[in-house]
């Protein structure tokens, strides 16, 4: 046990930076993904057919493709398109697109679950559609979308581990580097696993706390 | 005429659900071949009583004796124990129950429903069980539907399969819990006819029902329960024509068909 703890101490900075990068990547992805997903969800429910179609294709393509394939595609393709992306940027791009599709689907479901009477009531007091959306529909949809949204966040933290395959210095890659030096394979993989576990459980609890607060009204 | 020992004896049955006492000392006896109907308003405890006899519910005090065997509990060293799952299952196979909501096994055909108990509890071979199942389905008029699934049968047909399922186990006593209450009106009569037929065959039946005319027709005795107790217990002629208690009189007034 002692040599293991020793090695953790020695490697504390790379491991900490790796952990931070994991959180940063997941956070960026959930941020972009939520913006994209809300637009997507709203268009899928209320948009004209000509707008709905590309969003539908986007969602179906993203959902049918494994995250790793998205990551590899985002890693290799930009360079031939003349765009230069770092591995981290490519990773965030892939994860954001992935999150956007998932959040789009869950927003679609949440919006469609609102009883039609709600929109009717809003319109009959004179609210325009954007107002109806902003003040009546979205608040209700966001409330019911919260648990699956947290779930998407958990999936992103898990997905960030795949970025190690394209050389992004997140937690898993840094762990593998330490293992490469020390050969303490099982100890450090368990250690990394524990950190992922803690992050996800924390996120889950955070979500439940927010949910309680929101229901409290 | 020799007095035979009763097939079913319920003595001083008390049952609570949490803090609420639902059965407050019930005494009831049935002889072999007797048909007894229990009537009363909801909350009177009649369904709970049936479920205690069937050992689907536990009871706090009192005895149920079926054909000489005290069922559900044993007393060792002066302390009362609920019997093991295996013992309870064996005892349950001695009574048959038909439920208000049929509760047929949706993943098995009509024949499959009847055969399951025969194969797993009575340990019959497949061919033997199948033959017996077909016989009982024929008895309730559904031989042609032996290989149909419950979803392909009407409510009345499903309930008749449920009756066949209970009877095929050759139980000493059959419990019927409001077996027509969940049926569309036009399907009620076929089920009542089936019950009358098995009564005429000599089965021992304990029936909880709202169908007053049927109770009068088919029963040897009618029992009126109110608030967890047996209030009156007499042949149908006396119960329906000459109610002795005010409670029964009022009940009959409110349910006159």
């Amino acid at each position: 046990m002692q040599p293991f703890l020793n090695q953790i101490w020695i490697a504390r900075w790379p491991l900490w930076e790796g952990f931070l990068l994991t959180i940063e990547v997941a956070s960026a992805a959930i941020l972009f993904g939520t913006v994209l997903g809300c637009i997507c969800g709203i268009q899928l429910v209320y948009g004209p057919a000509i707008v709905r179609f590309p969003f539908r294709v986007y969602v179906d393509v993203m959902r049918g493709t494994p995250v790793l394939v998205l990551i590899l595609a985002a890693f290799y393709i930009p360079s031939v398109a003349g765009v230069s992306l770092s591995a981290t940027q490519a990773g965030v791009l892939a994860l954001s697109l992935f999150a956007g599709a998932h959040i789009g689907e869950l927003m679609r479901g949440a919006l469609q679950a609102i009883p039609p009477g709600q929109a009717e009531a809003a319109r009959s007091i004179g609210l325009t559609f954007p107002q109806t959306l902003a003040y009546v529909l979205l608040p209700q949809a966001l409330r019911s979308a919260l648990p699956p949204w947290i779930n998407t966040g958990v999936e992103l933290i898990k997905g960030s581990s795949l970025l190690s395959i394209i050389g992004v210095g997140e937690l898993l890659l840094r762990t593998q580097e330490v293992i490469g030096r020390t050969f303490m394979t099982i100890e450090f993989y368990v250690f990394a696993g524990a950190l992922y576990l803690l992050a996800n459980i924390f996120l889950d609890q955070l979500g439940k706390a927010v949910e309680r607060r929101v229901q409290g009204r | 005429m020799e007095t035979t020992r009763p097939l079913l004896e319920i003595r001083g049955l008390h049952k609570r659900f949490g803090a609420v006492e639902v059965l407050k000392g019930v005494d009831l006896a049935l002889r072999k071949g007797e048909v007894v109907s229990i009537i009363g308003s909801s909350g009177s405890g009649k369904t709970t009583l049936l479920r205690c006899v069937n050992l689907l519910e536990e009871f706090q005090s009192g005895d149920i004796v079926l054909d000489g065997e005290t069922i559900g509990y044993s007393t060792k060293n002066g302390r009362r124990h609920r019997l093991s799952d295996r013992e309870l299952s064996r005892q349950r196979s001695m009574t048959g129950m038909v439920f208000q909501s049929f509760n047929l096994f949706p993943h098995l055909t009509a024949a499959g429903n009847v055969m399951l108990g025969l194969r797993k509890v009575r340990r019959m071979g497949k061919a033997e069980a199948r033959a017996l199942a077909e016989r009982w389905l024929g008895r309730v008029g559904l031989a042609a539907r032996a290989d149909h699934y419950p979803s392909q049968l009407s409510g009345g047909q499903q309930q008749r399969v449920a009756i066949a399922r209970a009877l095929a186990m050759d139980p000493k006593l059959v419990l019927l819990d409001e077996v027509t209450s969940a049926l569309d009106p036009e399907l009620v009569q076929e089920v009542l006819n089936t019950v009358k037929a098995i009564a005429d065959d000599g089965a021992t039946l304990l029936i909880v029902t709202h169908e007053m005319r049927f109770a009068r027709d088919v029963s040897d005795r009618v029992v009126f329960m109110d608030q967890g107790q047996v209030v009156e217990d007499a042949p149908p002629a006396e119960i329906f024509v000459n109610p002795r208690s005010a409670r029964l009189a009022e009940f009959l007034r409110n349910t006159r068909t």
């Binding site: 394939v69 993989y189 | 048959g96 509760n103 108990g117 509890v121």
Partner: protein, 219 residues
């Protein structure tokens, strides 16, 4: 820019992509098969009266669902040998994916168990079937049938997750695609074809599932 789409290089190795696809499906089938057994045992344990069983199952599910699959795969493949347990690439991956599928299926089956109508269970007990017989011959069949759609979705998910096997050099579809990418530099074409294959397969499986659901509707 000057990048012109040339699918020729990709078509030349299409056979490899297809065999990779078949391998991915095979991995998913194996994982879901094992995962179903795990899930059934765990689901029944999670509704049993034994507190230890419930806690263990809860712990298992929480652990696996919050762990990245890649970490689990690496643990099984690289770390277990340190304890003397040596699995080859395929066994390691299937084992890890089975554990993963098992956790998801436990939740699916548990919900299915709870949804079996109480009356049907009572009818089974009323005939005299013991608790075990009731579970085996009545509860489990009904629950499995109701759980078919969710099981199907889990299978699709596991098929997509089979792509992670590429990380330990199992030659499934993603691994083959990356090889073609690196050999030919036809990046756009390769990934279009690869993701196209995944998407088409997922759609096909989903269509098949819908058909099955119509044949075997829920109880």
């Amino acid at each position: 820019m000057g990048y012109s789409l040339q699918f020729g290089a990709v078509w030349a190795s299409f056979g490899n992509l297809l065999s990779g696809l078949a391998l991915g499906l095979g991995l998913a089938v194996a994982a879901v098969a094992c995962g179903t057994v795990i899930g059934l045992v765990a689901a029944f344990a999670s509704v049993s009266s034994s507190r230890i069983a419930r806690v263990l199952v809860g712990g298992y599910v929480m652990l696996i669902r919050n762990l990245p699959l890649l970490v689990l795969v690496l643990l099984v493949y690289f770390a277990l040998p340190q304890l003397g347990i040596r699995f080859d690439k395929y066994e390691s991956f299937i084992g890890a994916l089975a554990l993963y599928a098992g956790a998801y299926l436990t939740e699916v089956f548990r919900a299915g168990l709870v949804a079996v109508p109480k009356g049907v269970v009572e009818a089974s007990r009323a005939i005299g079937l013991t608790r075990v017989q009731t579970n085996v011959w009545v509860v489990a069949p009904i629950m499995m049938r109701n759980a078919l759609p969710s099981m199907g979705n889990t299978f699709i998910g596991m098929f997509k997750d089979s792509s992670i096997a590429a990380a330990i050099a199992v030659p499934e579809l993603t691994f083959q695609a990356r090889k073609i990418n690196v050999d030919t530099f036809r990046v756009v074409e390769t990934w279009i074809v690869a993701s196209g294959l995944y998407i088409a397969t997922c759609f096909a499986i989903a269509a098949l599932l819908r058909r099955l659901e119509r044949l075997f509707p829920k109880f």
